[in-house]
């Protein structure tokens, strides 16, 4: 008599609905044809995946689920076997990944370039400079604010290489003019714009970034700013749950004619963001 029959029925229905809500995700789980790709925020945020993945899924029926984190985290996740394919842009780390046995068959996929962006008033006076390390040197000398990824990503590693070339270690100045955000590219750009700081970013993310304020592109075209993306299959020998067949299908498609064409056709405001450069059997 604590609950009248009617109320008991309603309660029962509600609980059943909840149990169903729990069971459904489980059911949807099983038998779904998908692979997990650990990739970077730059490819995600630019919108590249939204453009090319539907083409692949249409062709093969395989769904591609992208987890977008920094290169460091992507490789670590793949090392744990929490992904079938890795698509990142830090060749030394990729080669180490393979050497350590976590991945097999690295292939070039596409490239773009890095650029140095900054506030229109250019406090460090780097306008017109053609070489990235030189620009960084001037920024350090002027102690103009600079926003760094600070997260072991491909972009971050590239940035550190450029500082090394400039003969400067910015890290002691961390927290003063050198701001290490420890975040993805977009978040770092938000910080840069907010703090009127310079930043190193890949062109694709910058083109699709919607919060540019009055920022301009300052340094571009330096060969050192070349940015190569590589794709690797997670080693099925190390983790039996890896979907090697479907993963390889994705790699083959992306480095094959159709995938490469899809990459080339991705544009924002008419400008191409990524340049396919897969070589047969590279």
């Amino acid at each position: 008599m604590t609950l009248s029959t009617n109320r008991r029925n309603v309660l029962g229905l509600f609980l059943a609905a909840c149990l169903l809500a729990v069971a459904v995700p489980f059911a949807l789980q099983a038998g779904d044809n998908f692979i997990i790709v650990q990739s970077t925020t730059s490819t995600q945020n630019s919108g590249l995946f939204d453009h090319i993945l539907p083409i692949f899924t249409n062709r093969t029926g395989i769904e591609v689920r992208v987890v977008a984190v920094g290169t460091g985290q992507a490789l670590k996740n793949a090392q744990n076997g929490d992904g079938d394919v890795v698509l990142v842009h830090s060749k030394p780390d990729e080669e180490k990944f393979i050497a350590d046995g976590w991945g097999v068959g690295r292939r070039d996929v596409m490239c773009n370039d890095f650029i140095i962006v900054g506030p229109a008033d250019d406090p460090a006076g780097i306008a017109g400079l053609k070489e990235a390390p030189e620009a960084l040197k001037k920024i350090a000398e002027a102690e103009a604010p600079f926003a760094s990824r600070g997260d072991e990503s491909g972009t971050h590693k590239e940035e550190l290489r450029l500082w090394q070339d400039a003969g400067i270690d910015p890290r002691p100045s961390s927290g003063k003019w050198y701001l290490e955000t420890g975040s993805g590219m977009g978040a770092t750009l938000n910080t840069a714009v907010g703090k009127r700081a310079y930043a190193l970013t890949d062109r694709s993310t910058w083109l699709s970034f919607a919060n540019k304020s009055d920022f301009k592109v300052f340094v571009t075209g330096d060969p050192k700013l070349f940015n190569q993306y590589g794709i690797i299959l997670v080693n099925p020998a190390k983790h039996e749950k890896v979907k090697a067949k479907e993963g390889q299908a994705f790699i083959d498609w992306l480095t094959g004619p159709e995938g490469q064409a899809a990459i080339a056709s991705f544009r924002i405001d008419g400008e191409q963001l990524f340049f396919p450069n897969a070589r047969p059997g590279s």
Partner: protein, 235 residues
């Protein structure tokens, strides 16, 4: 400020046109958080009630731990669940990582301490008044727990709604264990994080406005329930 006005317009447009992407994200958020809250409450009611009524060695330690866990940073719960569900983890065989189920598990871990501690408090308060009478009537400890849980139902509803509020607003844990995968594990909060990182501030704010709307609706419901309960001296 321009962003804010644009955000309001965007929010109204998305809601007014029943934008399918928005609907998908909202439904997923609700599904994950509601399921998590139901599961967590079932566990937490029993836990809180038992803690209030039963006497056992270590009771104080357990009570203090649950209360402390209320302040557990959600991202830590996310990390913990990630380590469990990762392919190298003990529950890797379940292949639950990057699925809504993983997000539900993480949110359950976050919500149980909140609802549990509030349940325990409610039961203890009731027990102060009821203890002697219930024992005089011959109630066993289990019967006492059941009596307290039903009698405290309005306070428990408040606790559940508090847990839901925490769950639906959570972003750290679901990001780690869900992976923010489009159409699969992208919730309102992870979508907001994504749009912010793409610089789409207005869209991010718009999503935030929708999320706020849901939270307000929940709180309005809560106030309604409490007023009703007070009228009947059931609170």
């Amino acid at each position: 400020m321009a962003d804010l006005t644009e955000a309001f317009h965007t929010a109204l447009r998305l809601i007014g046109t029943l934008d399918p992407k928005l609907i998908g994200i909202v439904l997923l958020s609700l599904k994950v958080s509601l399921t998590a809250v139901v599961i967590a409450s079932t566990i937490a009611f029993g836990l809180g009630g038992a803690l209030a009524v039963y006497r056992f060695p270590g009771r104080g330690a357990v009570t203090a731990t649950i209360s402390a866990l209320m302040g557990l940073p959600p991202v830590i719960a996310g990390l913990f669940v990630y380590l469990l569900l990762s392919n190298t983890g003990p529950l890797g065989v379940l292949q639950l990582l990057y699925t809504p189920m993983a997000m539900i598990i993480a949110q359950v871990i976050i919500v149980v301490p909140i609802v549990g501690a509030l349940t325990r408090q409610a039961c203890e308060d009731l027990l102060e008044e009821y203890d002697e009478q219930l024992r005089s009537l011959g109630a066993s400890s289990t019967a006492i727990v059941r009596t307290l849980l039903w009698d405290g139902r309005y306070r428990l509803i408040t606790a559940v709604l508090a847990g839901f509020g925490r769950a639906i607003a959570e972003v750290g844990a679901v990001m780690i264990v869900g992976g923010n995968i489009d159409h699969v594990t992208r919730t309102m909060t992870t979508a907001i994080a994504l749009e912010t990182s793409k610089g789409n501030i207005a869209l991010a704010l718009a999503l935030g406005i929708v999320l706020l709307g849901i939270a307000l609706a929940v709180n309005a419901a809560l106030m309604g329930v409490r007023r009703f309960a007070l009228r009947l001296a059931y609170a």
